[in-house]
Amino acid sequence: MSGVRVLVGTRKGAFVLRSDGLRKNWDVSGPFFGGWEMYHLKGSPVDPNRIYASQGTGWFGQLIQRSNDGGETWEPVGNQFNYDGVPGTHQWYDGTPHPWEFARVWHLEPSLSDPDAVLAGVEDAALFQSTDGGENWSELSGLRKQDSGASWQPGAGGMCLHSIIVSPKDPERIFVAISSAGAFRTDDGGKSWRPINKGLHSEGIPDGDAEVGHCVHHITMHPSKPDTLFMQKHWDVMRTDNAGDSWVEISGNLPTDFGFAIDVHAHEPETVYVVPIKSDSEHYPLDGQLRVYRSRSGGNEWEPLTKGLPQSNCYVDVLRDAMSVDSLDRCGLYFGTTGGQVYASNDEGDSWEAIVRDLPAVLSVEVQTLA
């Protein structure tokens, strides 16, 4: 029988939530790596039992864990993320040059075709790859070394590369997004990169229409439309239909267009979900009401989804990697909050239930749909 496995990364460990295809009753296991920050866990699309996890703390640095049995057991693999060559500098908060320094892995993106191949997005922003199951890592340094790299400057959350999308149509085409720098694309497997931020407008940077410097929070894609991307920017929800060559705003009737998480329905490439957050100075939902918004028209027209979600006194945040969808017949949605709840919907967002309510702050949620 089909089922789902939800991989949850939190501030104090990882949890694995399992259910059958009905997605009503859940088995919760964990914490794995209790006390460690688990920024992201993600399974291979080719071999769902192969899962990669980013484990770290400010005390003891970065580790990468790998499971070959669907999260039952784990083994540490390579954790050496050395920038290619002489790293050089980027801009620091005060505008002075600052050497590139590795801090942590924000996102792991397993290959669409090879369970031993995986990409890692790190802070300070760079993209690394492993082709041996995470044992060894090498930088795709063309990204950091392209023209604008030296001008990138961290935002308050750090200069992180948090979003990685490999085109299912062309494995040489990769999209990434970096906080306070923007979105970038390669068409040659990571050798050369260019900014793809035309159409973005950001207040808070000197030139609101600049080629780089935009605080992109997350990007997502439906595999059937690989030239269409959806973006939750710091403020503004955006879309592109030409692989990032230009973007248009689709915030439409959202009550606020600040937020972090954005995702696409598994079977409807024009059905998009966001979780609006009140503002960048108040990282909680508007009016204390936790609402997912759904657009069935690719943006602009949004409907609130509230059934089963707290509609008073709710002041949690939903972070950029903390929403995911399954691909069962009726698409399921999942998101985690900084208050430790993981909510699930088995009906495309029409209704929600909390799988768990009292985990540590949730950093990431990834779903695996199991045959």
Binding site: W59, F60, G61, N79
Partner: protein
């Protein structure tokens, strides 16, 4: 034989429930003890010091004989009581929180 006490998270990583006993070749120093630790437990690479520069991580401290020796020369010999196994060499995760 050097006795090494690790902080809880690192003990978990190496599946140790108590202190670790290490044979250290040559002069026992902070550096040679951590070299021996990493040699026996490769999972510790990067968790105590930078693997390239060998610089101690900012929130790691080394204690011995009721002294914080973190800022001593990493190559300096450890106290006799540590070298003889009377006293342990402590790897400490700095206190923080609220």
């Amino acid at each position: 034989m050097i006795r090494v006490v690790l902080p809880a998270h690192l003990k978990t990583l190496v599946n140790a429930t108590r202190e670790i006993e290490l044979d250290v070749a040559g002069v026992a120093s902070q550096r040679s003890v951590v070299d021996a630790l990493e040699n026996r437990y490769p999972v510790l690479l990067g968790t105590i010091r930078d693997p390239t520069t060998k610089k101690r991580r900012p929130f790691i401290r080394f204690f011995a004989c009721e002294e914080d020796i973190s800022h001593d020369d990493p190559e300096a010999p450890l106290p006799d009581a540590v070298v003889s196994g009377v006293e342990p060499f402590f790897v400490i995760g700095a206190m923080a929180g609220g």
